[in-house]
Amino acid sequence: MSLESKKKILVVDDDADFVESVSLFLEHNNFTVLKARDGSQGLKLARMEQPDLILMDVMMNERTEGFFTVQEMRRTPELAATPIFILSALYETQAGFRVKPQSSWLAHDEFIAKPVDMRALLEKIRARLGAGQAAGEG
């Protein structure tokens, strides 16, 4: 695989340790990883770098920050179709926390519970991006 064919994944999470382990795993599996510590950084990076997929934590600084960022991304035409996986530790435990993917205000693609099962995540990412296929511009 040539360098350009690597898919780019943006990881947005305020926990540096989480970002560290997850990025290493993804890099090991041949992805390029962009890292952002908060929603606004994530938004900036996403607009600049146009990642192929975004992993976004939704319980960052403020409870709504992650969701807000997702909304903003969807309003950006270049990012409107980028797959967004939402990560949350509260996903399983909090009744009513889950938001339906088809909610128009929050157009995301997957809810992933934290801690993340890395193998399962990898499969989901590959399925979404078309396993082993080179990027369009390659």
């Binding site: 926990d15 340790d17 989480f18 560290e20 382990s21 997850v22 290493l24 795993f25 890099e27 090991h28 319980m59 600084n61 530790a89 509260l90 435990t93 909090q94 934290k114 801690p115 993340v116 099962d117 890395m118 193998r119």
Partner: protein
Amino acid sequence: MSEAAGTVVVIDDDYAMRLSCRKILEKTGFHVETFEDGIQGLEAIARLKPPLVVVDLKMPGLSGMEVIPRVRDIDPLIVVVVITGYATIDTAVEAMQNGAYDFLPKPFSPDELRLIVKRGMERHRLALESRQAEIERELMRRRFVTFVSHQLQTPLVAIHQYLDVLKQLEDSPEVQARRQEWFDRCLKRTEELQGIIKDWLTLSQLEGELARERVRVDLHQIVGDILATYEQMARAEGLTLENRLKENTCVVRGDRNCLSVLFDNLIVNAIKYNRPGGRVTVEGRAGNGEVFVSVQDTGIGIPEKYQAMIFDEFFRVKGEGAKTTTGTGLGLPICRRIAREVGGAVTVESQENVGSTFVVRLPAFREETAEAKAAGCGL
């Protein structure tokens, strides 16, 4: 709801009575709806949810006495005032026992009616407020539980993720190169978890009905003991700790352990958020029945916009300081709670990159009995 906020429902079988009640109350600015029997009245009450109902006790059909519990079923916060004849004071008392707020014996003057309705309205407003406060408290409690779970989950998730990747990519050179560092990070995060649990327990014990001592405590001694414990650690950082409290000047009544926790948290912060070669100074004065003890540092300071937030549970300033220090953000909320417990307060003054001063205000110890006085003088 807001439309009906000033609504009074009057139920009386006597036409003249309904008319005069309406006139008097409308003149005072209330919106009045009148009904000639209990059934119609209750229907309207269920619909309008008025803050106040005036009902005649003696009516054909559903009596006023029977109306009262039904109004309370609709909404227990609705205030019921009963109108009663002179001869039936006993019944009025019974009505009050059934949940009526007050009674108005016939004949009454316009002013008497106005006064009682105004008082009833005020009562309703207070009841509404306290219900609102209760709802908010409950929401806070639920939010807090969610918040604590999140705080506990964050380090757990980080540890889990490290272990998962360590296990799956055991043989890869990237992971091998980071192995030691990752183990260290995992240990750090377990410490963080332990800290959260310890602080949280302290906090919930403070909330509980824990029987606490109320004894004479000289803060000079408490602060001296705490500073002594951190002396070595501070010296290693090049920090100077100074206790300027004088003996027997800042004396309060309280629980020795709680007061230790309070000053321990402030002093640890002053050390933790200090800079190499800095100082931590504890000073105190007494006056007007209060003592003021300040814990002053020459550290990184707190940006003004965050100064109001640092007393919130789990709040930590996300700056350079947060990267190099660990903490749960429960220290200051604990301090505030302890101070409030004995009628005191904790405040902060701070300037970024210059330092912070936390001032603890506590009621001064007062000798209450001859015995306590003797004990106090003896010290």
